[in-house]
Amino acid sequence: SDDAAGKKDGYTIGVANFLLSGPYFSGMDAAIAAQAKTKGNVKIVSTDAGGDAAKLAANVEDLLSKNVDAIIISGGPLESAPAALNAIKAAKKPVVLVDRKFSTGEYTSWIGPDNEAIGKQDGEFLAAKVKGKVAIIKGGPADNSIGLARTNGLKSVLGTKSDITLVEASDFGNWGSDGGLTVMEGLLAKHPDLVAVFCENDAMCLGAQRAIASAGKTAQIVLAGVDGQAEALKAILDGTNYVVTGLNSPNVIGKLALDRTVEVLGGAKVEKDTVVPSPQITKDNASQYL
Amino acid sequence: MTLRLHEVHKSYGGVEVLHGVTLDGAPGEVLAIVGANGAGKSTLIKILSGAVPMSSGTLTWDGVELAVSSPHDAHAHGIRTVHQELSLVPELTVTENLLMGNFPRRFGLIDWPAAHRRAGQLLQEAGFGVIDPRTRAGRLTVARQQMVEIAKALVSEPSVLVLDEPSAVLAGADLDALFALIRRLQSRGVLVVYVSHRLAEVLELATRIVVVKDGRVVATTTPDATDEGSLIRLMAGRTLDRIYPERRPAPGEPLLTVDGLGRTGEFDGVSFTLRAGEIVGLFGLVGSGRTELAACVFGAARPTAGAAFRSPAEAIRAGVAMVTEDRAGSGLVLGMTVRDNIGLTTWRSTARGPLIDRQRQRTDAAAMIQDLAIAPQGCATMPVVHLSGGNQQKVVLAKWLLTDPRVLILDEPTRGVDMATRVDIYRMIDGLARDGLAVLLISSDLTEVLGATDRVLVMRQGRLTGELPSEGTTEEQVLERAIAA
């Protein structure tokens, strides 16, 4: 009876964002909301945990208090979020994960990228393009496993190449352009002979690109990022030293996630895990993603 | 049975301020220590109470050496001290300030009703029964805070009671209560060490008087063998022919008129006029509302009836200056240098363009330090907190004199100031009045209020109850109007 009533009045779907203050995550939130609008009868309630796992659990509890029909967890912090998932399970609500897949715990469905594959992709592109010293700029612990997967993907390709040396920046870029800039400045001081830089996301690469330009090494060093942030796409299209990124589009994932949740609520049997492909973006195809 | 300090030396940051002081006292004695501002009296007392360590020397009781490296040690030996600077915890009740560290307990927890009872009893015994132990200390007047400080020292039956200028903020009945207390303790065999600048008091109370000058004991005497004049001579190294200046000629035009000023709960319907060239005393008992009145006149507080200056800035522009009674709380910026404190009122008015005129600040401060004999020498660049109490008071005065006031309000300006300096201050006020200033001298010292002024206003419970010419008026006549009928 619950279901029938739900269908008539439409659904309310709660979105529990782990961290909204990043363009990727706010983009995801917006994409989910936008897709909900197209359905006409789906209401979205969105929360932000500000990067705090406990707050995420609290927000999920608040959403359940509001008696939402389903919950989407975006950018979940962990390999698992037992308390949040348990609460949802106890309330007998479906939960769809986007971006991050939990290795344990029960969820209804997951939609996200294959971060390791994106890293590999960048690695292969760089392997074909450069020889010499390649630097890695990591985002930081807040999102450890995503970054780790991307970097591991890259290393799995470049680590085996005899003509390539990998150097890792010792401090984190904290996923932002300002952090990317500072870390790159440090790298340039220590390794004047770099030929390429890989950043765990585009935002850091954009900052790193500025540092390289200021040091007058634009001709010497190329950049590879992840995400497909608009500014990065533009830089790639313009033929700068920003040469490649892997698409990890919040728009695509968010849209799919909302569709998937509505399907679940409609009683459909759905695929458990869906990997959204992350096409490689270079100068040749950048225009189609802008 | 004697308490004996032997060859005590004390240095602050490498500068010696006590150069081998030796003194002793026996139970039942009232040992007075007198000396000019900065002579080292408070330092000596801080050593005795374990508040600061001595650099070298010994403290013995009956020949046995006492180790007092902390106030706790001193308490353990029965030595209790009332320090010169008030230091109650303002947020806490009187009870708590009194019994801190000595609470009555039940089942391990503080028994508050018993604590209040005990505190009330303690105040009663000390003769300060007017104070409600449940009041927060910060709400008490300075005088009552001082009484609490004194009562605090009695918590655990001291065998030595050390009082550093306890009378400086007391007057009238409160002062009598203090003297009575001291006599009672004396008769019980307590050794009382008593520091004061009020020599009459010292001569009345003391069994022995020790004169300290520049960190050395220069004389030990008894009240019978000396008088004020010779004590001042010993302390100051100079003779004072007279304490109060000659009376001034008839006053001139009115400079400040207060009409029907009042502030709810504090004072009411106060009117008076200050004229050029006169010094007017304002006498009253503790809590009679003099300080609040002065604050309202000066624009530091808002009156609820009548008109006054709207801000201190306005008052200063009109040529009014006010030396407040609480020098640490509202007179000085303790961490700043003497020069900056003196310059506080004038660095804007004398600025050259956007910049402070440093040359002028330097010479002004130097002149004031010279004129008021602010010690130690070269103190211009010292943080004012390192000066002795009396010298701090002079810094406050200097700051205000630099504004070239036409009306000067002085709230207890000689509190804690040594006799020789007091005389200097009276002379200076006199000089200012002769130059055409009007001075309002608020004081709890009856002798001073009659000696240094031309007429006296008397305040009782927030109302002016009399105006008397200073010449020919007796202390009794003034007190009569100050004490509630």
Binding site: A83, P141 | P90, L92, L109
Partner: protein, 321 residues
Amino acid sequence: MTTLAVRVRGRDVTVEAAFTLLIAALIIVAATTSESFLTATNLTNLLKQMVTTGLLAFGMLVVILTGGIDLSVGSVVAFSGIVTAGLVADLPIPLAMLVGVASGIAFGAVNGVLVARFELAPFVVTLAALTTIRGLAFVYSEVPIAPADPGFLTLGSAMVGPIPLITLIMLAVFGIGGVFLARTPPGRSIIAIGGNAETVRLAGIDVRRHIVLAYTISGLCAGLAGIILTSRVGIAQPSVGVAFELDAIAACVIGGASLSGGRGSAKGAFGGVLVLVLINNLLNLYGVQSFWQQVLKGLIIIAVILVQRTRRPRSEAKGRA
């Protein structure tokens, strides 16, 4: 004199009444404008959500009363949590939790010694501790640790009747802590130290030891909060707890504590925690968009302390931190 004293007490009562009224108003507004507010689920959520901030706020209060501050609590929460989760593999759960709490106590004691013995500024000492302890949490484990043993979740999920166990623990801390501050000599000494440390020293009380005690209590509360949080979330994260200190401090000040020390109460701090948790809950229930939530949260906090202030006698409201 009696009148004055009565007036003072009367006024204190007014302040508390106003504050209680404010909280009541928040609750009434919530109950009438959001049908979800008074549901059992939501009330249980509220009870759970106040635990971490509550524990940290009590510890913070004790430190603030001395005139200090403890910025390191968020990092201690992370460290205690991750160490506990890590040790569960080798140790019985209660023992692992004890080690977590003990680590908090140890960090607190170190902070206290640096502040009291070496007379360093509490802000900088605990700021440095914030950095160092956070680093140590990551050094212990870069990745989150989820103990396999389901018994680990018990503490965080057990209910005593309608009330979560962890809420009871927090209430017990406030209860015992309140008595400690109001009715024991060390508690009173801590408050007096914040009012005037020199006076307390001259009263023969060991000021340093009490300051160390205060920071240790804060560390203890943070350690406890760490294991409770971990057990509640079911996983320990080395990155958890960033900026937790700010909410704890805000709760104390909303509850009437003065950051220059000497004034504040357990009751007040608890009220402050309630206000903060209610604000968060309400903004969520109303579905206010995340960034607007931040905007509003700041404005509401200002409004709350403005209301608080107008009820406070003017002479006590100093323009200082």
